[in-house]
Symmetry: D2
Subunit: 340 residues, 4 copies
């Protein structure tokens, strides 16, 4: 495997590959920061490549993991498609819809199935997979309503209100379509007064998603929730409900309190999901089978839905996903959308 991007997420993937995934070996690393690349490569006994291009072309590299800056994703993914190498690209596939579509076209023209997988790791989280199995068993009947929460301890300084949608909500969007097997066709955006602990964005936000199958999904996004990293999801069906359990190893009693510790960030919360995702990708890549990971189409669709949410945030009206023109980009709107 080759790895492009040796930052937090890339180093994490290298570590998972080395210590927890069967059937693969890290052969090459590239990072714009050569020292960072050397560190990650050194541990794994891999080569450092001076450019992403060279890594992608290297005969030692059978498949590529992209964990570079979002802005480089599209170019690197296209290079992998040209080289005919399977690629696992961290989400988002690309910040702009045009780039997503260019990748989709390039892959289709090549005509040999999905080369590109996207790192929507929730699809491999044991809670989400068990929830899908429960739903698919039909014991609970048709899903009608979903209630979800997506909460971080503290926001990144950059990102703003739009970033919450394009960086965080995309996970809720993707997992919703995957769970329900139906595309999201309409969205709505809402917010209470923002937390006084962050004056730079709407926080929390509350979003509505509607699927073609008629399910309504409500998700609260709170990037400064302070209390812990917390992801919840409940499906309310005709004959019952199913929700993620808090998966914790131990419970304690002390100081007049009973309870458990929250995860502090997404990596601890989704450690199993990342491992299982990488394993599934390695297994598929090695055997030439299609992966169970999100595809370019999935990535494009989640970006479109996020853009529809950005528009709804600006207009305070429901927005059909079909309204979002490919020429639209929300990023310039970011700094004018402070809460009032």
């Amino acid at each position: 495997m080759g790895l492009i991007g040796a930052g937090v997420m890339g180093a994490d993937h290298a570590n998972t590959l080395r210590h927890s995934v069967a059937g693969a070996r890290l052969a090459g690393v590239h990072d714009t920061d050569r020292q960072r690349a050397a560190m990650v490569a050194g541990i794994a006994g891999a080569r450092v490549h001076p450019s992403d291009h060279e890594l992608i072309e290297s005969p030692d590299v059978d498949a590529v993991i992209i964990a570079s800056h979002d802005s480089a994703h599209a170019r690197q993914v296209l290079a992998c498609i040209r080289a005919g190498k399977p690629v696992l690209c961290e989400k988002p596939l690309a910040p702009s819809i045009e780039d997503c579509q260019e990748i989709l076209t390039a892959q289709q023209q090549r005509g040999m199935g999905d080369l590109v997988s996207i790192g929507f790791m929730r699809r491999f989280h044991p809670g989400f997979t068990a929830m899908k199995a429960e739903l698919d068993s039909a014991v609970l009947g048709e899903p009608l309503l979903a209630l979800a929460s997506h909460r971080n301890v503290r926001a990144y300084p950059t990102g703003g209100s739009v970033g919450t949608l394009t960086n965080s909500a995309v996970h809720d969007i993707d997992i919703t379509e995957w769970l329900l097997g139906s595309p999201i066709t309409e969205v709505g955006w809402f917010a209470p007064k923002p937390t006084s602990l962050d004056r730079d964005r709407h926080d929390p936000q509350l979003i509505h998603l509607r699927t073609a199958s008629g399910v309504l999904i409500s998700v609260d996004l709170f990037v400064n929730a302070q209390y812990g990293y917390d992801v919840r999801y409940e499906l309310v069906c005709e004959r019952g409900t199913v929700r993620l359990a808090a998966s914790v190893p131990i419970l304690t009693d002390r100081d007049l309190a009973h309870g458990y510790a929250h995860a502090t960030d997404w990596r601890a919360f989704f450690a199993d999901a990342y491992r299982l995702e990488l394993q599934a990708w390695v297994d598929a890549t090695s055997s030439g089978r299609a992966t169970a990971l999100a595809t370019v189409s999935d990535g494009l669709r989640s970006t479109l839905v996020a853009q529809a949410l950005v528009r709804s945030m600006h207009t305070r009206q429901p927005v059909a996903v079909s309204e979002v023109s490919p020429g639209h980009s929300a990023h310039h709107a970011d700094d004018v959308d402070l809460p009032v």
Copy 2:
């Protein structure tokens, strides 16, 4: 105490008064069904009164509990005010806003404080009172968002989509204003496709409430949830969250499952709340102190908010509570609002 209405709720109150409330005795009962009245009165050793008027006027009766049909509430409450007797009226105070306002005016003209209390029993549920105490302690900081669920096993055959708002959602409305200490000023109404188990109404529904203080509240209402009677409420604050715990006496393990039994209806779920409410009302009534129960103003406000929700259901637009004119009544609209 005198009791008007010896149906399910009235018999429940008589029973609670007799077996669980200190300092009061049931002295008189009236019901349009005399036999029913006699049965409840007999157990308690109380007199049966041939008319509500006579019961209210009876010198044996110091205070009146009204658990009659909703349509009789206003007339009976007004008679109590004229008689100068404290009255605990089951919710809703009256189905029409005009009736609520007439009661408010009558009480104000009498000029001796609140004679009328309304049976919004949630205010006495140990979970809600603990949640309010936690909120008031300010440890969690300002509330920003609330997420609530209100689910019944099976709908009453009548009621329709409007009934869900005027009968069920009023509880969520009242408890929200009580918890947050701020009036609801705007509402929104949403729904997924309806459950196939009930073709007569929108079910579930999802409502948004906004307080003057800027909090956004999302409540799902599902009167055919099948799985159990279930009320949830979570307050998401700047520094943490607080929510109702499932208050159950025992946990079992059998047949490869761990868990607990759901309540089948609101009476089991709120048994403590009903007892504590009645006790608080008896204590206040006996001592001439103001009650901690919901007042006529509270009852009027919850009816106004429910009517705003009905309008939002019809227009699919957000509705300001101030828009709801006193002349508006939603009841005629009920049967034309089937889900499409």
Copy 3:
């Protein structure tokens, strides 16, 4: 009702009677500390009696609650029996087996059923009553094993290792016989090294109880558990288990932790049980029916079992309850039984 003993427990009963129990009124109070008696009596509008004897004999007093010092119980209960008045005596009925037997004899000679009830309030705790209902439903099959915990935040300075058995374990003994409907016939006593936070007693202790029906019960008793007041009980049956749920009103998330607050003492934990017990006693007393409370025989049996445990603590051998001679008293042994 008359109340003898206006300390913590007596004041609690007076308060419960006044604010939460139907059909009774506090008419008289006696305490060796007259001021304390006057305070409790004043709130309730009751008379202060200069002696327990006078209170018991007073025609205003139909029934008597005894919450005095343990050493006075026997004499006062015997006086109530002579006066033919129902009495609710706080546990223990009497510290010595001879006194318990004298009361039993006096009551039997009078020949009109149980006049004396004992305040083993656990029998009215909603968790224990639900557990008994589950057991009696036979869904889980025969009980085989019970696992219980009884933990306090901090020990009273006096009491020592014996006190843990005669004051705390008696509750576990009584509830076990009540739940299982079979007498305890054999006991065993065990302990780990004691906590360093209390050098004056064995703490924690672990006791075994065996019923005539063959069930083995293991209870850990930890009077300096620090973390909270906590009572647990699980019945392991042939086809499944049932246990007490933690009955808490709210859950919170903050400071990277999820959880709930523990009770700090038994009064908060068993508030419902005390209320329901007093109500059941008042209902039975008013109507002349037998009470569902523990009887003199129950009280005697729990004392015998506790004494068998004291003997087992001294001998480190299993002890048959039948071995415990009525002449035996463990109290003198208390101070020689420090952990080594």
Copy 4:
């Protein structure tokens, strides 16, 4: 890696190695049933070896996993030691104490550290490792008491009362010594009447373990618990408690019940533990570092403690582990120890 034994456990290891463990490959398989060996080998692309001896000696095999019949363990482990190859032997290391000691001696004579690791997988279960971390953090103070449960859905037809101790309790013994870092020096054995669903053994059993450090551990073992596979462990310390949480992916509400599904056997419950154990062993083996797995000494000690429990079962007295002579074997006593 070479695998001896291609039954349930062996096939499981082969599968884990292939799909979830980094850095190793199955090169050879042996089983007395050649067809079974061929099936497991075929999937992994490994060779089938006609004898265990040949597999152990094969130059393709760097390290050996033994999952054969218990009676073959000692001979095969000794052969691995002679061949100088690291070996992961499923528990028990050997049924007899003499065999364990012979292995220990052989390894010591070779003088190059621990070649032999034993599959006590609980040491890698995320709950147990988190519990050890909590204990080691010293926040809760000294451990005093431990309360554990070990319950299966249904017993194997063979095994009897002794089998519960030598096959099941050894896990509780090993994890206790590992958690507490102190050897068990004394044991006690107890039982209620047995379940009517299995007349062939004492079931449930309750055992006491005491460590040199003074901690008392009580474990109930119930191999016919019916309701699910369930392992619990709580450490009661001076300032609080820590226990395993039920690690489940989802919660459901339906049919008037809330809850989650129990595991049906140990493999689902400990899947993570098996994976992490095998990974740790592969990592250590590849790098020549000492493993974190249980050693021969650990295996010998757990067998000694189990034998002391067998003796306690027969004598109904506490037994010091030092009393258990190496010549003692409990297996012949099995069929005479039916519950009476």
